[in-house]
């Protein structure tokens, strides 16, 4: 018990970084994902092609590779002009990656909205962005919420990949303690903390789904 109390602060410190990455990735990639999703359904072919390529690139390569590339690779290519701090590099890679996944989810949601909804908004003379904001987005959110939830839970765990560029997240804190003290206790604690985090996410997502159940 004493040992647990001893290592808990460093684990919680790691968990703090995990949460920060989690939080800021969502803040960045959810709205971006919606925008890219809109672009993917656009009738302007070059834009669609470009975004499809981006999605293919992001979903077609490991996130781990993308992290390494953003942190170690970009400075090499840009000759030192474009260098990111570890934390910024991690966020950059995560937002790029998650935006692609969210965009695909939003695209599916957008395509399931009846064209008539756009038309009735148009006849009521709403502008394109008013239509997107007030008519389309609320309906799309309800449709995509379960799939988004899946990715959100994934993100909690994916954030552990930042160890590769030397960031001290929850898993890394546990790893350090385990190899230093030759005991599995820290890793068990790490597992429990991840479970608590995902349980919390699941709870919030359930609440959200219930919130959107007032209409059909």
């Amino acid at each position: 018990m004493n040992y647990i109390l001893e290592i808990l602060p460093s684990l919680l410190n790691g968990a703090k970084l995990t949460l920060e990455i989690f939080f800021w990735t969502l803040i960045g990639s959810l709205p971006l994902g919606l925008l890219v999703g809109l672009g993917l359904t656009s009738s302007f072919m070059p834009l669609r092609a470009l975004l499809r390529f981006y999605v293919w690139l992001m979903r077609g390569t490991p996130l781990l590779l993308q992290l390494i590339f953003v942190f170690y690779g970009l400075p090499l290519i840009a000759n030192g002009v474009f260098t990111l701090e570890r934390y910024d590099a991690a966020l950059f890679a995560f937002i790029l990656n998650y935006t692609a996944y969210f965009a695909e989810i939003f695209r599916g949601g957008l395509q399931s909205i009846d064209q008539g909804q756009y038309e009735s908004a148009k006849v009521l003379r709403l502008s394109y962005w008013q239509t997107i904001r007030k008519i389309i987005t609320p309906q799309v959110i309800k449709i995509v919420l379960p799939s988004i939830g899946n990715e959100v839970i994934n993100l909690v765990k994916d954030s552990s990949l930042v160890y590769v560029i030397g960031l001290g997240d929850l898993l890394r804190a546990g790893n350090i303690a385990t190899s230093r003290d030759v005991t599995l206790t820290p890793l068990i604690l790490v597992g429990i903390i991840y479970l608590i985090l995902t349980a919390f996410c699941t709870y919030i997502l359930q609440k959200l789904e219930r919130h959107y159940s007032y209409w059909r």
């Binding site: 009846d114 008539g116 909804q117 038309e119 009735s120 148009k122 006849v123 009521l124 003379r125 709403l126 008013q130 007030k134 008519i135 609320p138 309906q139 309800k142 007032y214 209409w215 059909r216």
Partner: protein, 212 residues
């Protein structure tokens, strides 16, 4: 007065509307009748700007009118769609208030007052807080009419208003259309139902399937 001159619409090379001409005086009811596939709905979509006509022009009160680009213009055309296309995530009241608030920049109080009047007029007063999925077909249609009226259109169009309703409700729609005529609203009704058209129309326009 609404006039169509030589309105033509093609999809690829298929001619749907070939030089349609008609005019309708203010406060009158025009019925556009024809078989399915004759281009009735396409005609309505051209008038309301959902499709761009390939040739011909539309005049409102003698002035040229481009329904596709309606920025900075008064509301001219309102539509009641065949499938109503209510906004499912908004209550009846909110469905009506949305466009007046966003587009006509009415205050919330104004928009709400007007919406309540419209609900009352279309006997939906007790349905204000219900969502579209909680309404019957006839109620949805009346809500769609109320929503269109809230934008104070000069001309209100209906796409097949009787097709989704059982016969008893047909008379209800008829009553509403006739009542709106008394309020001086110009109405265009697209229908395949000749009987219905004869009962309400001041003028009937027949469109036919174009032979190749």
């Amino acid at each position: 007065m609404l006039e169509l001159k030589n309105l033509t619409k093609k999809f690829d090379k298929r001619i749907i509307l070939d030089g349609v001409n008609f005019s309708i005086d203010d406060g009158k009811i025009l019925c556009i009748v024809g078989q399915s596939g004759a281009g009735k709905t396409t005609l309505l979509r051209c008038i309301s700007g959902l499709e761009r006509a390939d040739a011909g022009e539309i005049l409102v009160d003698g002035k040229k009118f481009d329904p596709v680009n309606t920025k900075n213009q008064d509301s001219v055309i309102g539509i009641v769609f065949q499938e109503f296309q209510l906004f499912p995530h908004l209550s009846a009241l909110e469905n009506i208030m949305l466009a007046p608030e966003l587009v006509l920049k009415e205050t919330k109080v104004q928009a709400k007052e007007q919406a309540q009047d419209l609900l009352e007029k279309l006997s939906l007063k007790d349905k204000a807080d219900l969502y579209p999925y909680q309404l019957s077909g006839g109620q949805k249609q009346r809500l769609a009419i109320a929503r269109a009226l809230a934008m104070k259109p000069k001309i209100l169009c209906y796409d097949e208003p009787t097709s989704a309703l059982d016969p008893a409700l047909r008379d209800a729609v008829k009553k509403i259309i006739v009542a709106l005529k008394k309020d001086g609203i110009t109405q265009i009704v697209v229908t395949h139902d000749m009987e219905f058209a004869k009962q309400i129309a001041d003028k009937i326009l027949k469109v036919e399937v174009l032979k190749k």
